[in-house]
């Protein structure tokens, strides 16, 4: 366990080493956040609603996606595909280290840094913009929201790792990831809360894993779901996490059979 903590710490240190790179990345994140924030502020004046959202709830949702994204979507395991293609995976296969845990520890180090920055940015934005935020005071919803975000984090790691495993079969690992990020931005609820979609479409979305990455944890936080609905959603996301884990293990084993350490 100690060695994985060290990996997480190293990832943190690595980020600190390339400070300018990281700060510029965060500036970009804030810009993207501000774009959506001001857009929603313009289209939804006070005393108007879109579906079940008034201005306060929608702005809380948009700012909340930034924090949840830092926890769920920040990652380092996107490098798995390149490590396979360059043959660097061999270095891990011959060492007494679990490659999944190694990558997960790297993800944790990256998430820790992003969460710290995100919290500071949101505090500054709150002080400057003074948005009418919704504060959830019910501890049950807060705990369930955190549980949902934790499952989302694990789910995203499995999806990300699976995408990297394409490297066993193809050198083209970035194009599928580009499509994935595009799909994710829309389907996870990064642009808007998914329940403003037409009802039939949203019903389909409820069974997709993307819904449980951003939209669902925030929806719990906003207290807009009854407890049975929350439990149902947590169950679906757990099932997805298990299915994705099994898929990742199977694809990993299949990939190892054809791995030739090409490039080393």
């Amino acid at each position: 366990m100690k060695k994985y903590l060290l990996v997480a710490k190293n990832t943190w240190d690595e980020t600190v080493t390339y400070r300018l790179n990281f700060v510029m990345w965060r500036v970009r994140v804030v810009l993207q956040l501000l774009t959506m924030y001001f857009l929603w502020l313009a289209v939804l004046p006070p005393n108007t609603t879109v579906g079940p959202y008034n201005q306060s709830l929608i702005l809380t949702y948009i700012l909340g996606t930034s924090l949840i994204s830092s926890l769920v979507l920040s990652s380092r395991s996107y490098g798995v595909g390149d490590e396979i293609n360059q043959g660097n995976l061999s270095n891990f296969l011959i060492r007494p280290i679990n490659y999944f845990l190694y990558q997960f520890a790297r993800d944790l180090g990256d998430k820790a840094m992003n969460i710290v920055f995100s919290a500071v940015e949101l505090t500054i934005l709150f002080l400057i913009l003074r948005p009418p935020l919704f504060i959830q005071e019910n501890p049950t919803y807060l705990i369930l929201g955190i549980c949902s975000a934790a499952i989302a984090m694990i789910m995203y790691f499995f999806i990300n790792f699976l995408l990297g495993l394409i490297g066993f079969w193809s050198p083209e690992v970035w194009a599928p990831r580009f499509i994935f990020i595009t799909v994710l931005t829309f389907f996870a609820g990064g642009l808007f809360p998914l329940d403003i979609l037409p009802k039939n479409l949203f019903l389909i979305f409820k069974f997709l894993p993307f819904t449980y990455l951003l939209y669902f944890p925030l929806k719990i936080y906003l207290g807009q779901l009854a407890i049975p609905e929350v439990l149902q959603g947590l169950f679906i996301s757990l099932v997805w996490a298990i299915l994705l884990y099994l898929a990742m293990k199977t694809v990993w084993e299949l990939g190892l059979k054809i791995y030739t350490a090409q490039g080393r």
């Binding site: 510029m24 001001f38 857009l39 289209v43 579906g51 194009a175 829309f186």
Partner: protein
């Protein structure tokens, strides 16, 4: 004669870059598909937003789509022509930029036009089709409106050119390019919708400091007859000044270039 030479160099470099892009046909198709998907998703988002809120800051749905289509046209052409800027950092840190300086043609031209990205061509067509459809739906378009729209689109490219020159100049001085160019992309993304939607001071910043409004919003507004002549003159002034400053900055960067690693 000189133009012919430069056109030939651009054409040859574009052929080379295209061959590399199509080394993996699967990857190229996926990238094109991804770009179209990204375009479609934001369009769906705008349609959804308009349907749920009745009107976005007083604009009709087709006007909002026209703004978005214009943004895509202004956003895609620089990516098509000046894709080399995205590769520029590797030339500086490897020292290969030295070869640009010793060749018998402009290093600025080589740094900007070193191979166009043909994967952007489908997006160009898509933007133009959407511009024509949405303009037809808006109706009441005058010939002068179309003329000034074209002129302001050209003006937007001059601003984009200036910002790309500033980016590579920063690259020559600091070896930092990737984040600067992506920052430019993120800022211009704010122009996917009319900039006057944003509150002050943000809308002012996007007009006077970082001219996203002049690039993306002004052309669309002039076609709709919503832009006064004072703003049109202001747009030309900004592009002229910015282009001049960027060229001066490029000269300054070249004078201070110290050949990083060759």
């Amino acid at each position: 004669m000189k133009i012919k030479k430069y056109l030939k160099v651009w054409f040859l470099l574009t052929i080379n870059v295209s061959q590399i892009a199509f080394l993996s046909r699967f990857g190229a198709i996926l990238f094109i598909f991804g770009k179209i998907l990204r375009f479609s998703f934001f369009l769906i988002f705008l349609i959804l937003l308009q349907a749920k809120t009745q009107s976005i800051a007083g604009y009709s749905l087709w006007q909002i789509i026209f703004f978005f289509a214009t943004f895509n046209l202004v956003d895609t052409i620089p990516q098509f022509f000046w894709r080399e800027v995205y590769r520029f950092r590797s030339y500086v840190i490897s020292g290969n930029f030295d070869y640009f300086l010793t060749k018998p043609f402009s290093p600025l031209f080589r740094s900007l036009f070193g191979g166009s990205d043909i994967l952007d061509i489908p997006m160009l067509f898509l933007s133009i089709i959407l511009i024509v459809i949405s303009a037809t739906k808006i109706g009441d378009i005058s010939v002068m409106g179309v003329l000034f729209y074209s002129i302001l689109i050209f003006n937007a490219y001059l601003i984009a050119l200036a910002l790309h020159i500033i980016t590579i100049s920063v690259g020559v001085l600091t070896t930092e390019v990737d984040n600067t160019i992506m920052l430019y992309r993120d800022l211009t993304q704010m122009g996917r919708i009319p900039v006057d939607i944003y509150r002050r001071p943000l809308s002012w910043i996007l007009t006077f400091m970082i001219p996203v409004a002049i690039m993306m919003t002004f052309p669309a507004k002039v076609l709709m007859g919503l832009l006064s002549w004072q703003w049109i003159i202001f747009a030309f002034l900004i592009s002229g000044v910015l282009l001049l400053l960027s060229l001066k900055f490029w000269q300054f960067a070249l004078k201070n270039y110290s050949s990083v690693s060759s």
